[in-house]
């Protein structure tokens, strides 16, 4: 199935999604990587930031600072598995609806997706200019002291995709199903 979704998403919308579905996102996305997750879980959300129903993008973009403001250059996904250590806690604390990255995620994230009604999806890795063309605005940045890749960037997206649902809220896990060690060796 193909879905065109807007943020904030409702729990009902997210729970309908199934591993293998294709999603296009319009609305607010925030980026976080390793350092950002660690700080978020240690210090809590920055004041005034409500992530319920929002989209988390595993991404460390290239952003040019121009006089007119931020200009997004390239913004493809980063390896989601690095964030496995943090993601279940992050889902529980924020109520985030959709997490976008590349590659698979592990059992803890899968369990949290099921419990809290969240979904992990993948955008084709390395397709950073294609991704950036679907992000219409850099609305802001928080924790810039972490450096450009690790800071929390706030994006407005328009039909951002294709995002393939990898882990759904009903126990589906596309990557795990495909790549569990079988007898291929």
């Amino acid at each position: 199935m193909e879905y065109h979704l807007k943020t904030p998403m409702t729990n009902d919308t997210v729970r309908k999604l199934r591993a293998g579905d294709i999603v296009y996102i319009t609305g607010r996305m925030i980026t976080l990587r390793d350092e950002g997750h660690a700080r978020f879980l240690e210090e809590g959300a920055p004041e005034g930031l409500d992530l319920k129903g929002a989209v988390l993008y595993h991404c460390g973009p290239i952003v040019a600072k121009k006089e007119s403001g931020f200009e997004l250059v390239s913004a493809g996904p980063t390896t989601s598995m690095r964030l496995e250590k943090y993601e279940a806690d992050f889902i529980e604390k924020t109520g985030i609806s959709l997490i976008v990255g590349k590659g698979g995620m592990g059992d803890k994230t899968e369990a949290a997706c099921r419990e809290y009604g969240s979904v992990h999806g993948i955008f084709p890795g390395g397709c950073a200019v294609a991704a950036a063309t679907h992000i219409t605005k850099v609305a802001g940045v928080i924790w810039e002291d972490l450096g450009m890749p690790e800071a929390m960037w706030i994006f407005d997206a328009e039909e951002f995709g294709p995002v393939t649902v990898n882990i759904d809220a009903a126990g589906g896990n596309l990557m795990k199903r495909r790549h569990s060690k079988g007898d291929v060796l």
Partner: protein
């Protein structure tokens, strides 16, 4: 060392070569795949039958075209800039080359723009300018002659994560090595922007195997090791890696690797060291040849002038 009269101001000449040619080349290769990689990706897309894989290839090809037309880095991870120098001992700017490379890398960082990726391993602090200890990374090989051949590689993070080096016993040897490589490609390959280039190095110790695995990764896609035993290992691992069914983006597909290249050194009677270096489908690697008169020829990108 002979210096042509019209070029007696070496600093000025070095500046022109570094700031103009080399910096421009680094920017170019941040936005363009080398010909061999692009041709292989397009050929794999034509062979593909899996629907999700076809969609992923479509996005990859669209991205290549957008990066070219918008002149932007095709992946936001512009890596750690690595320079593999093979310099003739009589090449006229050899003594200035370290400085030329560093200033070109700094200019490319501003012009492309590249992402600041140099992080202090102890404090976690990003330097903000892509410079740090041994960064940009420069590997030196000095050979007889008066020409320079230099391969530049923007070594990404995600695509480097499957890498490893290990020293096995001879009893474990090649069979254990093959299993470790395929296990690692299966376990981590899906996250590293497949289809991948796998570089395998074999030698007597971890450092030698590791360096050779990177040299293997940097060899052109479609090239074959001159040694028949190494070529046979390349063919075997290529077939088995493709049989893993990872596909583009890890969504399954007909093929999973662009290439498997092997480079080796003699091992010690007591050791069998093996290493794996991996590159993503968007392997940004390019090679320049610079003669004694500083005429530059690009060996990797036909569209670089």
């Amino acid at each position: 060392m002979k210096v042509p009269e019209e070029r007696n101001n070496v600093n000025d000449t070095a500046g022109k070569f570094g700031e103009l040619e080399l910096a421009r080349f680094v920017c170019h290769l941040a936005s363009h795949l080398p010909d061999d990689v692009e041709e292989r990706v397009r050929a794999m897309a034509k062979k593909e039958t899996n629907e999700a894989a076809l969609k992923t290839y479509g996005c990859m090809i669209e991205n290549m075209e957008l990066a070219d037309s918008l002149k932007r880095p095709l992946c936001q991870d512009t890596g750690i800039p690595c320079f593999y120098v093979k310099a003739g001992s009589d090449w006229p700017l050899l003594g200035s080359l370290d400085e030329i490379i560093k200033s070109a890398a700094a200019k490319a960082f501003r012009d492309a723009p590249l992402r600041p990726n140099a992080v202090d391993p102890f404090t976690g602090k990003n330097s903000g300018n892509n410079e740090g200890p041994r960064t940009p990374y420069i590997d030196w090989e000095i050979v007889p002659g008066d020409e320079l051949e230099m391969t530049v590689y923007l070594s990404g993070g995600g695509c480097s994560l499957p890498g490893f080096a290990v020293v096995l016993t001879p009893g474990e040897g090649i069979e254990k090595a093959k299993k470790l490589i395929l296990d690692r490609l299966l376990e981590r390959g899906v996250n590293a922007c497949p289809p991948l280039i796998a570089g395998v190095g074999i030698g007597s110790s971890a450092d030698i195997a590791g360096k050779l695995s990177k040299k293997a990764l940097l060899r052109p896609v479609g090239s074959v090791n001159e040694c028949e035993n190494a070529a046979a290992l390349e063919r075997e691992l290529f077939k088995k890696a493709n049989d893993l069914g990872i596909g583009p983006g890890g969504l399954g597909g007909v093929e999973s690797v662009l290439a498997v290249n092997v480079e080796f050194a003699a091992r010690h009677p007591a050791t069998f060291a093996v290493a794996l270096s991996t590159g993503c489908w968007a392997t940004r690697r390019g090679t320049l040849k610079v003669d004694w008169d500083l005429n530059v020829t690009c060996l990797s990108h036909r569209d670089f002038r």
